[in-house]
Symmetry: C2
Subunit: 344 residues, 2 copies
């Protein structure tokens, strides 16, 4: 391990990403393919694949890639999705998640990407990688599709019942991320609420709203009702994790249900079947804009290194996008900005 | 007014519904049309139209209907959607909402239906009509469409930061409503959560979960993640009003955005346009199942009379359905059951 550190440090411009090869529904094929695609696409990326070595090497042997920029680190254990996260992180020291996160902690890598257990990734991020000093709580912040592009939904993590001061930090971190990683100028920050007026909301929102209004370093546009989220009325959507989780899951569930229903409906008569066949290519490209996977994974912000959670069902494309995200994250020194602007 | 009471009491089997003619985007045309349709469809309905009399009579004159079963009660004032609700209810004593709700309070009518200001209807329901003794908080409970039919989302009202005991009452009231008004046998009751396990959730859910498990009179099936709601995995979906509001609004917003995007996508090429034309009838009937308006309005439960809020954009069809809902509500003695099973 120490040798690796030496090697990595020779080329400081290289972004070193640890990729969990054991996590998600499509492991190890898709993560390995993603790593190969990433190093073939860009020369400034090194991927460290963490998982059961035999399996990983076997999968790697199917591909062509610059050998120097893919490394394999053995990790015998696997944390399953159903395992209680705190226990799993504590006991499975040889799991791909624990081994990979330890590399980030020890600065042997810049980022950790996994499609594995959300719970374990959230717990591991906090207890292994650790928070930036001054950051009270690390939010999980997925990008969700809107009519106009994407918005950052912050927080969707496992730590519910947040305080107002947490939400203010989420707003600031989210703003930096959308500006510097996603490239939105002066991102509009809104807080999820049940009405547009300042006096609306629950106790948490009422306490947070004036604090956000006072922040000089964000473009706070006020409350956003859930109805306006798909219309793209804000770029950074601030909420407590329980509410964020409900929004994220309903987004996924309702889109899937509606699209299924539409497909089924179009197959119901001969006439509509012919219509469907003609309209399908156009329809597919529309629906693709509502496919969350194309935007890469969700960063867990405010940690000393970057941790990215991709969908459990992630294919190579999403994982490769997540790897590129990590490069931008490092290049733009997001953590330096979080330290300077928020944590101090 | 006293004369009216006398008339109503002659036929106790008649359901007397006060309809706000001034509320909503389509007033007075659509409410008046709805009243006419309702009394023409069923002989056991009497509708009392509350609003500016000249305007209502003028609108009524366009229709044919049994004159004895539509009455007009004059109310000069109108509460606008943007008005602060508490003030509006207090000051506009001659508004259609206040006049109409007072008729329910004084048992001159069984139910009040309005497409007007949600806030004013929620406030008026509590301060004018009043809660059933023992009911801690009256929830607003819209029906939302799912793959398998509809589910009752309880609570989506204006009173946020609920307590566990409120949620238990919501579960019981929702269960009675779905069984006796909507006709679902042994309705499955679930609590909105961020995971399926019993130990997941925020403080409120963790406190409420074991209380719901103990309820012998409901079919509690545990937690529901927001992703499963559109799949129809529960019939009564219990949550605190802030979360319920987010679910309801996102449901409306995301469906509308997706359907718009699909329509636009299908108009993008000549080929897809032809396809769209062929597939459109089938598509429309599919999308109709996801149109909330066909199921009528949202009842505000736990009041001494029934108050129903329809969508602001409600057309006659939705309002007529809401009127029929009120008849079933009375016939099945929902309030008697709420008193007996919950409030005692």
């Amino acid at each position: 391990m120490q040798q690796n550190t030496g090697q990595h440090n020779e080329k400081p411009e290289m972004t070193r990403i640890v990729l969990d090869v054991m996590g998600g529904d499509n492991a190890p094929e898709e993560p390995v393919k993603a790593a190969v695609d990433a190093v073939n696409a860009r020369e400034d990326i090194k991927v460290i694949l963490v998982g059961q070595e035999d399996m990983v090497q076997n999968e790697l042997s199917k591909h062509t890639y610059p050998a120097k920029r893919i490394e394999v680190v053995h990790a015998q254990e696997v944390i399953e999705t159903a395992e209680p996260p705190v226990n799993a992180i504590r006991k499975k020291k040889q799991s791909s998640i624990v081994v990979g996160m330890n590399m980030v902690k020890q600065n042997e890598a810049d980022a950790f990407v996994s499609a594995g257990s959300s719970g374990a990734i959230l717990v591991g991020g906090q207890v292994i990688v650790g928070r930036i000093k001054g950051i009270e709580r690390p939010p999980l912040a997925p990008l969700i599709p809107t009519e106009k592009g994407v918005a950052l939904l912050i927080d969707c993590g496992a730590n519910v019942d947040a305080r107002a001061s947490h939400l203010v930090q989420f707003a600031k971190m989210g703003s930096i991320y959308m500006r510097d990683v996603v490239g939105i100028k002066n991102p509009r920050v809104a807080i999820v609420n049940i009405g547009a007026e300042e006096d609306k909301g629950n106790a948490l929102v009422k306490e947070t709203y004036p604090l956000l209004k006072e922040c000089a370093d964000i473009n706070f546009v006020g409350s956003i009702e859930a109805r306006e989220i798909p219309r793209g009325e804000a770029d950074v959507i601030v909420c407590e994790a329980f509410v964020g989780n409900v929004i994220l899951k309903l987004y996924e569930g309702l889109s899937a249900t509606l699209i299924d229903a539409i497909k089924k409906g179009m197959m119901s008569t001969l006439k509509s079947k012919i219509g469907a066949a003609l309209a399908l290519p156009a329809l597919k490209s529309t629906l693709k804009t509502f496919d969350v996977s194309q935007y890469g994974g969700a960063p867990l912000l405010g940690l000393t290194g970057l941790v990215v959670k991709t969908h459990g069902s992630a294919k190579a494309g999403e994982i490769t996008n997540s790897i590129f995200q990590c490069v931008t994250f490092k290049e733009k020194d997001i953590n330096g900005k979080i330290r300077k602007n928020i944590a101090d």
